[in-house]
């Protein structure tokens, strides 16, 4: 046996062993997923964990994961009750990666099924779509997720129909359990002409370091429509590696809302492939980063077919010792003429100890296209602050109001009232925190 000196290699091997052992003790009912799990395991074994020299992880060291001792996959913690956003939703709760509660859904337009309970027909649907939207090389933690596949959730919206309520998936955890990681999986299949909304809410109430590695795969058939929310509000020591992989067929529309606060390390990859003409996607993101939090959004939009449009707006406020990373990539393929793509990333950097690294990329191989991107890093305008003060508004209040105005344009795009209120509250708390820091 070779001497193991590199902690990354050691961690990689330990992860592999844990995932392998995990797969072997799974109940009989999930054996139909063995092939996928095995594939993930093989892929994970072959790849190397990213280091600072890996271009897509250049600004996001995974030391917190390696040192986090998060190998344990089975939770012994108390089943604390975690609640998602209150509202009129069909709510499914995954606690520590295991299905805790699923509603009785009597909606002809919709099936929400845990993988474990899938019928033969649904098993075939799952197998036809699972792990199809991404290459394992794209994301080291996607392979790890695939190798520990267990309680996934399938959301199936039927052709030409619209569910009565949005579906909310709450990814929650218990309060104990140090060194625990859960690998959750969501699969959303939207059939031709269907229209739906899915929320994913990420909560963390543990006082110890835990990691959640969530992969969501989304398929939009012709002329379908999906609005997807990813709302992260976790504690300061939480580690999140998540990815959303989307495939869009002709005429489909996809809207994604991202909101993030807190978290020791949060890395989200959003990859969208526009495969049919007239497909359209809109991506919105807001991140409010303080303390020692680190957030990293990597987005990639592939215009494969002609006549597609994409719009992307990410805004962030970074304070204390927070670090924000944004990497947006728009790739216009050779035949994707008449593409229209816009991307913008704007950041407010409020302290000298905080850091923003942004990289909006364009890769264009077709000539009849309109593409633009922009990125800014700056602070609140002194003149605006002064203007407020001349009107008798304190500097702190002016600060809060201007910060709010800066982020609000992104939050306003959220079309569910209760969700909008929820993120507004989180944002308010953050502005308050910024204000306290400024004093």
């Amino acid at each position: 046996m070779s001497t193991r000196t590199n902690p990354y290699q050691e961690f990689h091997q330990d992860c592999f062993n844990a995932a392998k052992a995990w797969g072997e003790q799974l109940p009989q009912g999930l054996h139909w997923l063995n092939a996928e799990r095995q594939l993930g395991l093989e892929q994970f074994e072959q790849m190397q964990l990213p280091t600072r020299k890996t271009e897509s992880w250049k600004y996001t060291p995974i030391a917190a994961i390696v040192q986090g001792n998060i190998l344990q996959l089975k939770s012994a913690a108390d089943k604390a009750n975690a609640e998602g956003i209150k509202g009129d939703f069909y709510t499914v709760t995954l606690l520590n990666g295991e299905l805790q509660s699923a509603p009785e859904i009597e909606d002809a337009a919709l099936n929400v099924v845990p993988f474990a309970n899938a019928s033969d027909e649904q098993q075939n649907l799952i197998k036809a779509h699972l792990n199809k939207t991404f290459g394992f090389q794209d994301h080291p933690f996607a392979a790890l997720n695939a190798s520990t596949l267990q309680d996934g959730v399938l959301i199936h919206i039927k052709a030409d129909s619209k569910p009565l309520k949005p579906v909310q998936i709450v990814h929650a955890n218990g309060s104990g359990d140090e060194g625990f990681s859960s690998h959750n999986r969501v699969l959303i299949v939207v059939e031709r002409g269907a229209k739906g909304t899915v929320l994913e809410t990420f909560l963390d109430i543990a006082s110890k370091v835990q990691m959640r590695n969530v992969i969501s795969e989304i398929f939009l058939a012709e002329n379908s429509h999906l609005t997807h929310y990813a709302l992260n509000s976790e504690s300061e020591q939480h580690i999140h590696t998540g990815a959303v992989f989307v495939e869009q067929q002709a005429g489909s529309q996809f809207v994604e809302h991202n909101f993030a606060t807190g978290g020791a390390l949060k890395r989200r990859d959003i990859q969208i492939k526009l495969l049919g003409p007239q497909a359209d996607c809109k991506l919105y993101g807001a991140y409010l980063i303080g303390g020692q939090s680190h957030v990293d959004y990597h987005t990639a939009i592939d215009h494969v077919a002609p006549h597609c449009t994409s719009e992307e707006v990410f805004k962030g406020i970074v304070t204390d010792q927070g670090k924000a990373v944004f990497n947006g990539r728009i790739h216009i393929h050779r035949d994707a003429q008449q593409s229209n793509a816009n991307m913008s990333n704007k950041n407010l950097l409020l302290t000298n100890t905080a850091e923003v690294n942004t990289k909006p990329e364009l890769e264009i191989y077709a000539d009849d296209v309109k593409c633009a991107h922009g990125a800014t890093v700056g602070q609140l305008d002194e003149m605006s602050l002064y203007y407020f003060q001349t009107r008798g508004i304190s500097k702190a209040d002016a600060h809060r109001m201007l910060s709010h105005a800066f982020i609000e344009t992104v939050l306003d795009e959220m079309d569910i009232e209760t969700v909008h209120e929820h993120v507004q509250q989180s944002a308010e708390q953050f502005y308050q925190h910024c204000q306290d820091c400024a004093k």
């Binding site: 271009e55 000298n352 909006p360 264009i364 009849d368 296209v369 991107h373 922009g374 990125a375 800014t376």
Partner: protein, 482 residues
């Protein structure tokens, strides 16, 4: 309303006008690289010991390094042992003291290029330090510059006559282990230009070097060092053409600029090396490291480049803004046609307070070429009130080419403002239609539109260069209407 195919073909297939080989016997080494080759080069140039040690150190560092692969370019692996590292025109041995003594073959070469050295020098008031292959053969206007106290000579001469300046500044901006190509250059550089502007002097004329690669299979490793002492000003022009040939040639130059307190350096380049033929055969590999250091407060370094040549361009003229209130600028037009690949951009490293940088980059791709902008703007935690504005626009002509943008922005200071904007567009049918309605043919219209697209950069060029740059674009682009 498509332009007739044949006119497009006619222009696209236009032969490289500066392509010919001058037949001069070269005093060349056998291909290959080892410590003996470096000792040979150093001995041949009669260098002091510190230079030999510096070269050997660079060579040993280079051996530890790997060729970078991150750039958006593709080319067959280079065999560094199949390159001739030293070649001097034979007639140089005794050292010509005036133009009369220069090999007439050489002068003819310049004439074919439309650069009659003496005339141009006399008429335009430009001092030309012409680099023909690896050794400087003619330097004009030396006396006039000497009166102002300006030192403008080849770097080999500088090593002999001003070793203290060379030892102090060589490698101070681009260290020997900076990157693969810079290390190689440090080990084997043959010649280049050296400029020193003393305190408070405004250089009385624009300095210029014409580079030209000749002798087949000769990698050219230029080294340029420009030092502007406190309160001085210099504008430096660099332009290049190369003869046509079928084998790829490596060009790994290093340019270092040092601006002390209150000094200003303006560095302009028109690069028109042989880009290879329609199938991408031949052409120059242009792997260049250019970097300026704003060492003192209120100093300024401005890079302007028009890149139309080379099969592969890998070039990032950068500025380190160390002095408070220092200013860095980068204006670039990069045009690629046929199978050319360009990965170019800049780095602005803000370290001092109130530092400012501006980046304007225009990429034009036609044919089956790829042009990438790759830039870095880094604001350090101490760079209070740093300000950057970046604009990079791409224009695509034809549906087989690519245009890419990779801007890195790293900010660690809350009083800094960094802005980046980029757009991609094509010459639209509406624009062409408007011009043609007014009696302007499509070729001319495209040329006008492209010139308009590049105007912001051209206006930064010195007059005579702006004319040349405009012409270059016209030649390369006319007829590319889609």
């Amino acid at each position: 309303m498509a332009t007739p195919e044949n006119s497009v073909d006619k222009y696209i297939k236009r032969e490289y006008e500066a392509g010919f080989i001058t037949d001069i016997e070269s005093d060349a080494l056998e291909p290959g690289l080892n410590e003996d080759v470096i000792r040979f080069i150093s001995a041949k140039k009669n260098e002091p010991e510190f230079m030999l040690n510096w070269r050997l150190k660079a060579y040993r560092e280079w051996q530890q390094m790997e060729e970078p692969e991150w750039a958006h370019v593709h080319y067959p692996k280079i065999d560094y042992n199949d390159i001739i590292y030293y070649s001097a025109p034979k007639s140089q041995k005794d050292g010509p003291k005036s133009l009369d003594e220069v090999d007439p073959e050489l002068l003819k070469t310049y004439e074919k290029l439309g650069i009659p050295l003496h005339e141009r020098a006399a008429l335009a008031g430009v001092a030309v330090d012409a680099v023909f292959d690896s050794v400087s053969v003619a330097t004009t206007f030396k006396e006039k510059l000497a009166d102002a106290g300006v030192i403008f000579c080849s770097i080999s001469e500088a090593v002999q006559n001003h070793p203290e300046l060379v030892e102090k500044y060589l490698g101070s901006v681009v260290p020997t282990r900076d990157n693969f190509f810079a290390s190689l250059n440090s080990a084997v550089f043959s010649d280049g230009s050296f400029v020193y502007i003393p305190k408070g002097v405004r250089c009385p004329m624009e300095l210029s070097t014409y580079f030209r690669i000749n002798a087949a299979k000769t990698g050219q490793f230029e080294r340029t060092l420009i030092i502007a002492d406190e309160g001085s000003y210099v504008s430096y022009l660099e332009g290049c053409t190369a003869p046509m040939r079928d084998e790829n040639q490596l060009h790994a130059a290093v340019v270092e600029l040092v601006a002390l307190e209150g000094a200003e350096i303006k560095y302009s380049t028109v690069q028109n090396w042989y880009p290879g033929d329609e199938e991408g055969r031949g052409g120059i590999y242009n792997f260049v490291t250019k970097r300026g250091l704003c060492a003192g407060a209120h100093s300024k370094i401005s890079w302007t480049q028009v890149e139309t040549g080379s099969a592969i361009t890998w070039k990032y003229p950068s500025v380190i803004l160390r002095g408070d209130h220092s200013v860095g600028e980068f204006y670039s037009v990069a045009l690629t046609n046929n199978l050319q690949q360009a990965d170019t951009g800049t780095k602005m490293i803000h370290m001092g307070k109130n530092t400012k940088s501006t980046i304007i980059s225009k990429g034009i791709s036609a044919g089956r070429s790829d042009a990438s902008y790759r830039g870095l703007v880094r604001v350090g935690p101490k760079a209070e009130n740093a300000r950057n504005y970046t604009q990079c626009d791409s224009l695509l002509i034809g549906d087989k080419c690519g245009a890419h943008t990779f801007p890195y922005i790293e900010s660690k200071n809350n009083s800094a403002v960094v802005e980046h904007e980029a757009t991609t567009s094509k010459v639209s049918d509406e624009q062409l239609f408007l011009c043609r309605q007014r009696g302007i043919d499509a070729e001319r219209a495209v040329s006008m539109i492209v010139n308009g697209f590049c105007k912001e950069v051209f206006k930064e060029l010195p007059m005579e260069f702006a004319v040349e740059a405009g012409k270059l674009l016209e030649v390369s682009l006319e007829g590319s209407v889609g």
